[in-house]
Symmetry: C2
Subunit: 178 residues, 2 copies
DNA sequence: TATAGATATGCAACTGTATGCATATGGAAG
DNA sequence: CTTCCATATGCATACAGTTGCATATCTATA
């Protein structure tokens, strides 16, 4: 139940609407977590129903009305309790590995094509991360405020992952050529 | 729908039972894919119902009876079609990153503890992979038969992932000490 | 003879994620 | 004046994965 807690954290930092949360998640999308607006609105509903968040409806002119969510004392407590729990490890399941496992049934040539396509995807991902780094995290880490350091570290993990994948792909392509 | 296709691949390589498939998945567990026996039996049922697998019941003495599954022509075709499709990229979501994102709400000390715990988990995972490598993949890759090379490559990806994570953790621990 | 463990199979309920569909306001551009 | 885009919210369905529970055979060990 991680998305619930991510939303809780976002709202704890700054009260906001489903729309805003969705956009914030889109911006950290990929290097960290993904969620659709449908998911976000549903979790907000659940969170409000269980008393971890509360909301007020705000009328706007020039734009549709909105619901602004804020965290409750109960919500803050629940988040802290979750934070202190042991974190379950990510299950790094890559469907491409199934194709490796089964490649001889279809042919190594086809596997090579699959690997090349996957490589393109990972290269694009890494390029996107590097662009974000160049735009927003160019200054040395020790000069950033803590909150920015922390988000930068999540980006760094994304980059480390992609670089490791690409190195593995080099090694594998070489072995498959033989 | 990757588990379905992994099972299809396993059965295509060698006809087998739910029990055997579960054990095979347990052995490659972690560095590749995870599934419970309940999941396996359910997928086998679905696969047989849609005609991608067929099974015969085999009576045993000294052991409970079993169902041996084999792939059908339709199953083989479905698998090949899936193989040729573009692979969707793994969604690398790590719940620990949520704790990074939200660490200032709870305290950097608690984050450090979380990071240390997660590190222990990843170190154990890497050690397990390295043990498998030493036991089963000690010979040079070019001397292995193709099928073994391919499985070894999936193990190598698991190791690359863990090593990248640990390097990232070093970097992050250093930054958090400052 | 009781009990634990390996072999063998499965249902039911729940949680989490993904996908498709639906609606509404108001500004900007063609 | 129509269509597109940003803003704003949500339901319903399906699929995938997790957890708890249940059953049965036979061997080996205490």
């Amino acid at each position: 139940m991680s998305l619930k807690h991510l939303i809780l954290a976002l709202v704890a930092t700054r009260q906001s609407t489903g729309y805003e949360i969705t956009k914030e998640l889109d911006e950290v999308a990929g290097f960290f977590w993904r969620a659709t607006h449908q998911q976000v609105y549903r979790e907000l509903g659940d969170l409000a129903e269980t008393g971890l968040l509360r909301f007020r409806e705000v009328e706007q002119n020039g734009k549709p009305d909105k619901k602004v969510y804020a965290i409750t004392a109960k919500g803050r407590k629940a988040f802290e309790a979750w934070f202190l729990e042991p974190t379950d490890p990510p299950r790094g399941a890559d469907p491409l590995m199934i194709k490796f496992f089964a490649a001889e049934l279809v042919g190594i040539d086809e596997l090579r094509k699959q690997l090349a396509n996957a490589r393109a995807g990972h290269e694009a991902m890494l390029a996107a991360y590097e662009a974000i780094e160049a735009q927003h995290y160019a200054e040395p880490m020790r000069k950033m405020p803590r909150w920015k350091q922390l988000i930068f570290m999540t980006l760094r993990l994304g980059m480390a992952r992609e670089r490791a994948w690409l190195e593995w792909a080099d090694e594998s392509e070489k072995a498959l050529r033989a």
